[in-house]
């Protein structure tokens, strides 16, 4: 059957027409001629609802986590990073100490009023309280959905600029299914984009990180986990301006979303975890009003309304800064179509950890601080935070860039 371009109907393979018009064309062999006729095939263009049995569940879970007045507790530090945190308060990095620290967080009474999800590290997802209850059950009893970090760390990209790619796609679908069976409802993968120094970010770094996020998101949705998509334009050294951060963030999110679209990721079933728009570390700290203005502008330009929640990372902001900035965001755009909320690690844990310092007699006080911080941020999400902050003042809480393989 010689195929002419003047009869496009015979070989357009669309999902609808395939059954009716093209079966004859499919069975007949294409006769090779000197000039091979072009088979014009319709591009895929399918929506995820067609083939994903978890579509409704993903939508529901994402909506739950992104509900107004709540945010996420990020507690997914790897064993090595957790060890560094514990060491800072003189606690040894053992499995039991890591377990105890997370138990403190997850059993804090009333935490579930302000927290809708908790991100865990692999080890933690399978751990229990001292009296034998599974962490996932403890969390669910509080109305907190368990989440799981699934990336296996950053790797430095060639080029000498210190840019990174995130690893973790190998075997991800099986791991995701296992995590879901254990009780996880959402997942998280952190991509890092560096700006402010020579040539950064390169197109390679942007493409690589956007691609990784999109493939991870697609695989998670396939396995029934809501993916948190985290393209962190990291707060780093340099006096680059807030405008510059805004510019690069827009570029990065544009690439992330075009990749998500290409991989047919259902946007109603993801959550976004971006950075707030801040100037470089060596530039003067921006006021909450400025942070709000640029962050809201960037989100309005880049994030489609289908995404139910934008959970900002704290990324080095002090505990108070994290709350006052979030409050300013919600004052700036009270009718936002997505929830402007938080997914805080350091901004919820830093003082909590210092209060505990590994001592049982400090357990209750530490839990109280955690819940007070969560409450302040919950109020900020509603645009109702008035202060005073549970932990006023306080400087930036920075950490070195974590690179290396799994578990580092």
């Amino acid at each position: 059957l010689l195929i002419h371009s003047s009869f496009p109907q015979f070989f357009i393979r669309s999902t609808k027409m395939q059954a009716t018009k093209t079966r004859a064309a499919q069975r007949a062999p294409v006769r090779a001629s000197r000039t091979t006729a072009v088979r014009c095939v319709a591009k895929g263009f399918t929506t995820v609802e067609k083939q994903n049995p978890y579509a409704e569940e993903l939508r529901r879970n994402a909506a739950y986590i992104a509900q107004r007045g709540k945010g996420i507790l990020a507690s997914d530090e790897s064993n090595a990073t957790t060890g560094k945190r514990l060491a800072s308060v003189g606690v040894e990095n053992t499995e039991d100490n890591r377990r105890a620290w997370r138990e403190l967080l997850y059993t804090a009474p009333g935490l579930g009023q302000y927290i809708s999800g908790a991100i865990m590290f692999d080890e933690t997802l399978y751990q229990k309280t001292r009296d034998g209850r599974q962490f996932v059950d403890v969390l669910l009893a509080q109305g907190i959905y368990p989440g799981i970090k699934v990336d296996t760390g950053l790797q430095v990209l060639p080029g000498g600029r210190g840019e990174t790619a995130t690893q973790g796609l190998d075997g991800l679908v099986d791991r995701a299914k296992a995590y879901k069976a254990q009780g996880a409802r959402f997942a998280k993968w952190r991509a890092v984009i560096k700006i402010g120094s020579d040539g950064c970010p390169t197109t390679t770094a942007i493409h690589e990180n956007a691609h990784g996020l999109a493939r991870y998101a697609q695989i998670c949705q396939e396995a029934g986990l809501v993916p948190i998509v985290e393209p962190e334009v990291t707060l780093g050294p340099g006096d680059y301006s807030i405008e510059e951060t805004a510019y690069w963030s827009e570029r990065v999110y544009s690439h992330v979303f075009r990749m998500l679209n290409e991989y047919e990721v259902m946007l109603e079933g993801i959550l976004l975890k971006p950075n707030m728009i801040l100037p470089g570390l060596d530039a003067p700290v921006a006021s909450p009003k400025d942070v709000a203005k640029y962050t809201v502008r960037t989100m309005r330009r880049a994030i489609p309304p289908s995404v139910p929640g934008i959970h900002f990372l704290s990324g080095g902001m002090s505990e108070e800064e994290s709350t006052t900035n979030l409050q300013a965001l919600n004052e700036e755009y009270p009718l936002a179509p997505w929830s402007l909320t938080f997914s805080y690690g350091r901004a919820l844990q830093s003082t909590t950890l210092k209060t505990w310092a590994g001592k049982p007699e400090n357990w209750d006080a530490a839990q109280k601080i955690l819940v007070a911080l969560a409450k302040a941020n919950s109020e900020a999400q509603r645009g109702a935070y008035k202060g005073p902050h549970p932990v006023p003042g306080g400087g930036r809480i920075l950490q070195a860039l974590r690179t290396g393989g799994s578990g580092k």
Partner: protein, 390 residues
């Protein structure tokens, strides 16, 4: 030496800031990467114009038919296609008393932008007095796209910067460019890409000349595909369009969109209710349109006047992050033409017909449209033409 470099770069930075006086920061000369400086001279004006067009209760009257197409309209009521008759018809539309209450912008064809009414007043002046922003169609029409499935691409980039500057001088403040995508033809990847690419380049050039670009990748009604297929294709087309808009650094707060509603194809046996159309269309918009875009002005594309109004009304039943309104040609003009019949004594009645349709769509924009107010069955007639040439 680092202190010196730092001071030098700070001086350079200040110099840049003084020189350009633009709201964003210029490149730091000491760093190898140049950072964007939106030297957008018209940025504030673009945002203001877009917001004005996107005001509640108002939409766009599309009357930019080419001379040939306008001729077809006139022909349908037995009127000869002369410049004077085209002028008379456009004058009838633009001077309908109180039109500006329901219409915030009017898209003109080039000829009309430079025309005067019978009494010698410019069409642009008439529009400005009515509180209606003048717009101009700037594309040069569709041509066959090589190596595609009989698909088309939209021409008009050559010399667009100069033409746009002329149009701005003549009083236009927004522009329009219509690309098409055909579902029965695939669509093919190259057709979708060219559609998006052309729109993005046109949008960037328009903004540089002070014209708010209406971005219109029309997914044609032609075909027997169902509403799910339309959604799939529309999602892909808008993803591609926003990709290229972002790459061309188009200011999203200074554009308007003109999408087709998500409906089944014209020849699909399964029809869709207004609720279904609203559902699917809002899903598309929420998945693809960032809130920074101030207005989404739907095309009617062959729907009947009534359908176009009902569907718009359904979409405005609850608040949206963007203004969701109309940019109708056939769905506003059909009854007008039939009433006018080319006779001067019918001008008043014809203008009433226009105001009636404009008000209905204004109500629909506010989610308040009451179909019981429709008297005639003319409004319910389908305006679909297979293979329609704009």
């Amino acid at each position: 030496s680092t202190v010196l470099a730092h001071s030098l770069s700070r001086i350079v930075k200040m110099a840049f800031a003084l020189k350009t006086a633009c709201p964003t920061v210029a490149a730091k000369a000491s760093r190898k990467t140049a950072v964007v400086c939106r030297a957008g001279k018209y940025d504030e004006e673009l945002v203001k114009t877009a917001k004005t067009i996107a005001t509640p209760g108002r939409g766009i009257l599309a009357m930019d038919e080419s001379n040939a197409t306008c001729g077809k309209r006139l022909d349908s009521i037995g009127v000869e296609n002369t410049e004077d008759n085209r002028r008379a018809y456009r004058e009838l539309l633009l001077s309908a008393p109180g039109l500006g209450k329901y219409v915030s912008g009017a898209i003109l064809f080039e000829e009309t932008l430079f025309q005067n009414t019978k009494s010698g007043k410019s069409m642009v002046a008439v529009l400005n007095e009515q509180g209606i922003v003048p717009g101009i169609k700037v594309d040069k029409g569709l041509a066959p796209l090589a190596n595609s499935n009989g698909e088309q691409w939209c021409m008009g980039l050559d010399g667009l910067d100069k033409r746009s500057a002329e149009y701005y001088k003549a009083g236009a403040r927004f522009a329009k460019w219509r690309s098409v995508v055909s579902i029965p033809s695939g669509p093919s990847t190259i057709a979708v890409r060219d559609c998006a690419y052309g729109l993005a380049r046109y949008a960037a050039i328009s903004q540089a000349a002070g014209l708010v670009p209406i971005v219109e990748p029309e997914v044609l009604l032609d075909g027997d595909h169902d509403i799910n297929r339309t959604l799939e294709v529309a999602e892909a087309v808008w993803a591609e369009t926003f990709k290229y808009l972002a790459d061309n650094k188009v200011l999203f707060e200074g554009i308007l969109l003109k999408p087709a509603m998500v409906t089944p194809g014209a020849e699909c046996p399964n029809r869709a209710s207004p609720t279904q159309v609203a559902d699917y269309t809002l899903k598309l918009l929420r998945r693809r349109v960032p809130p920074a875009v101030p207005g989404i002005m739907f095309l009617s594309g062959g729907q009947s006047e009534l359908e176009a109004t009902l569907n718009l009304n359904e979409m405005n039943k609850s608040p949206n992050p963007w203004h969701v309104s109309f940019s109708y040609a056939r769905a506003l003009q059909n009854s007008v033409l039939k009433t006018w019949q080319g006779k001067p004594e019918n001008v008043g009645k014809a203008q009433e017909a226009l105001l009636k349709r404009a008000k209905a769509n204004s109500d629909a924009q506010l989610g308040k449209y009451d179909p019981a107010t429709e008297g005639s069955t003319e409004a319910a007639k389908s305006l679909y033409e297979k293979g329609y040439k704009y």
